[in-house]
Symmetry: C2
Subunit: 346 residues, 2 copies
DNA sequence: TGTTAGCACTCTAACATGGTGAGTGCTAAA
DNA sequence: TTTAGCACTCACCATGTTAGAGTGCTAACA
């Protein structure tokens, strides 16, 4: 069976209507609302074909039709109207990014919040990966005799605090010296660069009395930049879920809330797809995560120095407004890439 | 009318039953379940009295009785069984506090999470007040030419990062010198101590070329420690709300969620009462905040150096398990006060 | 005087019933 | 190929009915 122009028009009508009303839509309603010059009976025949093709489904015998995952897939792949982000939105996003490009970890939280506010969906973001970044500066700040705050600033302007308990109790002058040595030895390095030789070099360069302390600090540094455990993942606008009739059952909402608090789940979602900065869409059951099978994910990676660095995803019900989500997300990613590009270029 | 022993026993039965079942309870059920040697008819008479006294109410004519705010108030003030925190819980909380006493800001988040997990309610906490704390150490860490991270460590071990945009572009050596000057001049000071004279003193002590930068940093420092805007308030276990039948209506849940994201609302709640480290309970309509009139708040302040420093509150439906919430909260506050006491003493 | 059994009454929740409207599929005619 | 017409299905709503839980009142009892 071939998907001719008329079938497409009807499919679009069904999807657009369902996106805004969340109610199944019938042939008569289409005939009245979108006057496309054919009767409801003809539409009925076409709809029967669309159902046979798996693009729409009927919740029950005498109800209207609802788009299926496959229908949304067709819509997203082929029927998406091009839509530009509004001037206001663009200006707002750009300003936010420029204002906060010197604190990228904070910026990512703001972005999650802003996208959620603009779309009324939930937004998840991951901080830039540590394993591909280099250390721009580090500093030890005393807290008490036996612990310091390690402050790390990366080339992508992510600032990280870690309180490090020390094996011995170096004085302030010794901390200063350690900071100087560590800065000199580790600056500009990324995780792969920090080898056993580097560690020995550092041990040899700090004062005798605080080698144990330096070892403590170095072990935290390596653990932070080697594995991604230190990388934060944020979810913004989680409560928006409660506004969708899909989640009027508190139990369903609770399950999704629970899932959105699981870091591993968010990481899985943000790692799905090819990680490019193209917009990718995962519809309903296409998502690897169980709790998400009634939701869709619109995601894109952002880049720094030519490599994928982190991801942003918008989560909504499968009947979400894909055009809006994709438009805003693409605007955000474009701006971030530009701002981060200037950072690595300059 | 006098609240004799038998009335009290019946009131307790009603409250305890309602706390665990959330269903109105009738005279026959009480007679059967709690065999107190009197018939349902007698209980009926007593319940009629209790209603007249305003301690219980009937949702509708042929339903059982439900405790009123006044009933809970009576229960909380006079009838509360003494209950000790379990050994396991005590050990767990104590360990968590000891482990994180060198990063009190992080600790407060952990506490919110832990209390929510133990009680299944929502927990809100406020970080220690800045205006009563002194600066133990500060450090400037370069981010790019025109911005630095200001790291503040207070005597109560709260670590704060603030990115400060600078009016000029000091070099690394100049930043070091500024850090040294600022540390020397501001260490041990609290907000009231930082006067115009101190600021002038600092301006005179830093190198000519970075006076503007120093002014930028000082303005951030004073704004952070003077007003409480810098103080964080966290809510943990917000999603627990969805487990209570009181919030099976998504709309109600959504409104409360919304309120719990409003910083001002949380501050208002945490500032209610006398701010002592005694446990205080606000039941239903006793709360100043509208969205909380179906909820109760169990709160206590924690102390440092003999002064009130911040607060912790547990939020649940009015039929919450007050004994459990009060027991756990009092255990937490006791431990925090002890740990912070050692901090200020040592 | 306090307690209890008994009874009439009230109200909700649950279930059954029937009508309405939205929707479908099928068929025959244009 | 399109359309009008028709029979049919099903959710939804209003209505009616019943069962059950609960109450208040009264009269009898200890």
């Amino acid at each position: 069976m071939v998907l001719n122009k008329r079938k497409i028009k009807i499919l679009e009508a069904i999807i657009n209507d369902y996106i805004s009303t969340a109610e199944p839509i019938g042939s008569r309603t289409i005939a009245k609302k979108y006057n496309m010059g054919i009767s409801s009976a003809t539409i009925r025949n076409e709809m029967s074909d669309l159902e046979e093709m798996g693009l729409i489904v009927q919740p029950h015998a005498s109800a209207g039709r609802v788009p299926s995952d496959k229908g949304y897939r067709m819509y997203v792949d082929n029927l998406l109207p091009k839509h530009e982000i509004t001037q206001d939105e663009a200006a707002f996003l750009q300003q936010m990014i420029i204002n906060n490009i010197n604190q990228v970890d904070f910026l990512m939280k703001e972005i999650a919040r802003a996208i959620s506010a603009l779309t009324t969906y939930t937004t998840i973001v991951s901080e830039p990966k540590f394993c591909r970044t280099t250390i721009k500066h580090l500093q030890l700040v005393p807290v008490d005799e036996r612990s310091v705050v390690l402050v790390l600033v990366t080339d992508s302007n992510v600032v990280k605090n870690h309180v490090v308990p020390l094996a011995d109790a170096p004085g302030y002058a010794q901390l200063q010296q350690m900071t100087a040595v560590l800065n000199e030895k580790v600056k500009g390095m990324c995780s792969e660069d920090i080898s056993g030789a580097v560690l020995e070099d550092i041990a040899g360069s700090v004062e005798q009395g605080c080698r144990a302390a330096a070892a403590c600090v170095m072990s935290v540094i390596t653990s932070v930049i080697e594995n991604e455990d230190g990388r934060q993942v944020y979810a913004g606008g989680v409560k928006n879920i409660l506004t969708f009739p899909e989640f009027s059952d508190v139990d369903k909402a609770h399950r999704l809330f629970h899932a959105l608090e699981e870091r591993d789940m968010l990481i899985t979602l943000l790692n799905s797809g090819d990680g490019s900065d193209d917009i990718q869409v995962f519809i309903g059951a296409e998502n690897s995560v169980d709790e998400m099978k009634n939701c869709s994910l619109v995601k894109a990676g952002y880049r720094f120095g030519g490599r994928n660095y982190g991801s942003i995803g918008v989560i909504g019900p499968t009947r979400m407004n894909y055009v809006q989500a994709m438009t805003i997300l693409s605007g955000v990613v474009k701006n971030i890439n530009k701002a981060l590009g200037e950072l690595s270029g300059g």
